[in-house]
Subunit: 318 residues, 2 copies
């Protein structure tokens, strides 16, 4: 039995969107999976009732508090000890659920990831990644997309390893091509950070840790022809991600829709996995719709089943 924890109170349209998304996910999960909803039982049951869904299709853990977007994440995580996020992380840390997803406070989700489930031993800094559109049949993985905005080169090299394991286990890519985002193809290109990271990644590749294919320029990350996993500093990755989102919105407004751009719609992926911590955690977009929540639940199930966390732990024990 896989237990997927969902913060029913998280996100701008919670609890409605969250609970509706959970209902939508029911038929798409494997038989042995079960969703555990963290939130106010009465409110959850009201929505389930409206949706015509029996409450017993879920486990419900009643919580009375909510960490709001305006709250200080670390303080609220402690002070609101009966909040859906804090209780959810408690369950996750104890192994009572196998993964936890929320479209609520990103800050609080990170506090939970770092202090409740904690970084994998040997991982300098956990990371958050995102799928980006490509012209091939599958997306590429971009990391870090905003957690660490002043990455040391050693941290970037670790992300390469983490990203490779993620792409292999969760996406099923054999020997994923890992590239360093840079402003030129040659090894000596880029800022001090990229130049140093290149050297470390080259050494890692020589040691057989992952398949480093060198630098990739941002003009080519969306073709899918160069890399499956693209490594960059969180400032740069967040800039890329938000730029893609902004251009997706502009395209929508201009009536440009197609398969490529639809991949830039976060709703289709639903969430950003936190990688390098001791349990699967997924952070959703604040604006998550029921569809986005549904996909976040499915991707969390997928991450749990792939044993990505276990494989990352193994890699860092070595």
């Amino acid at each position: 039995m896989i237990k997927i924890g969902l913060d029913a109170m998280g996100g701008d349209f919670a609890p409605e969107a969250a609970v509706k998304g959970a209902v939508m996910a029911l038929d798409r999960l494997n038989e042995h999976s079960r969703i555990v909803l963290f939130g106010h039982r009465e409110r959850i049951c009201e929505i389930l009732d409206k949706e015509g869904c029996p409450a017993d299709r879920f486990d419900i853990v009643h919580t009375t508090e909510v960490i709001e977007m305006g709250d200080h994440p670390a303080k609220a995580f402690q002070a609101k000890s009966d909040s859906s996020i804090t209780v959810g992380f408690g369950y996750l840390a104890k192994g009572l659920i196998d993964g936890f997803a929320s479209a609520g406070s990103t800050g609080a989700m990170m506090v939970g990831s770092m202090f409740a489930v904690k970084p994998v031993e040997g991982v300098l800094r956990p990371t958050i990644s995102s799928f980006i559109p490509t012209l091939t049949s599958r997306p590429a993985v971009l990391m870090d997309v905003g957690l660490n905005v002043d990455c040391k080169p050693e941290v970037l090299a670790q992300y390469a390893l983490i990203g490779s394991i993620f792409a292999k286990s969760v996406m099923g890519i054999d020997s994923p091509r890992v590239a360093l985002l840079n402003i030129g193809e040659e090894a000596a290109k880029g800022n001090a950070q990229a130049q140093a990271a290149y050297q470390l990644m080259e050494a890692d590749a020589a040691a057989g840790k992952y398949n480093f294919v060198g630098n990739v320029e941002s003009s080519y990350i969306f073709t899918g022809k160069v890399a499956d996993v693209i490594i960059c500093d969180g400032f740069v990755g967040n800039t890329i991600l938000k730029m893609a989102e902004g251009l997706y919105q502009i395209n929508l407004r201009m009536g440009v829709t197609n398969d490529f751009w639809e991949q830039a719609n976060y709703e289709n992926f639903g969430g950003t996995p936190v990688l390098g911590v001791n349990a699967p955690v997924t952070i959703g977009h604040g604006k998550s719709t029921p569809k986005a929540i549904m996909n976040m639940i499915i991707s969390t199930e997928h991450t749990i089943e792939s044993n990505a966390v276990g494989l990352i732990k193994e890699a860092f024990v070595k």
Copy 2:
């Protein structure tokens, strides 16, 4: 009389594309402007002849060498003393031409900018900028787009001033809105560089140097609603620029063309001004077509006429 220098030998399709572009520009320049072609006289005249354009519509400065893409920029700039770029910069430094444009070796163009015409006194590091598409009737200016990939905060604050002067003088924008590219809107967001730059820009704005509107996220830079000038580190700016180019190409391939995306076509702007040096210098795309060359010449004329360089000098004397 304004004399606009053009490297007739620069670019992947030179001298044909360069000379053809110069011919195309003829009718679009002001009466008092004249194009000075630097390159092999015989080859230039052959192309002019084919185009049915009398050679006397140009000044031609005969040069016998070309700095190739594979050459070491600094070494070649010295060693190939009769190259079109080296001679062109000699003319520019002596005031025999009023601006210089080339689609040739970017490295050599930067060497010329830094060592022949030199940075404006007080400017820590010159910058290269680029126009980016917006949903309004005019593009925004992004800088730096790749010259300085490890910017100190002080350098970014200077770019804000330079960019503001450029947008006002060359683009005719009254009190241009200058924003710092960041991964959040709040002052305390971002990496160490952005946080420090924010403080400096806020102080500059308080001193009346320019109209600082705060942080802008990459999701909003293309709307045109937040900022006219967007300031960032060269690594980030180059990443944004190349990403826009890559997505423009992908759109083209998918048959998506519209006014917005057409602004991402470098051909329509033709070149990147080098700002913060003592004379107008424009660097074109290596793949410049005649149309791109034409627009590069026109934009160089425009920069000369706007007296942007003079205004930048004034601002840094203070």
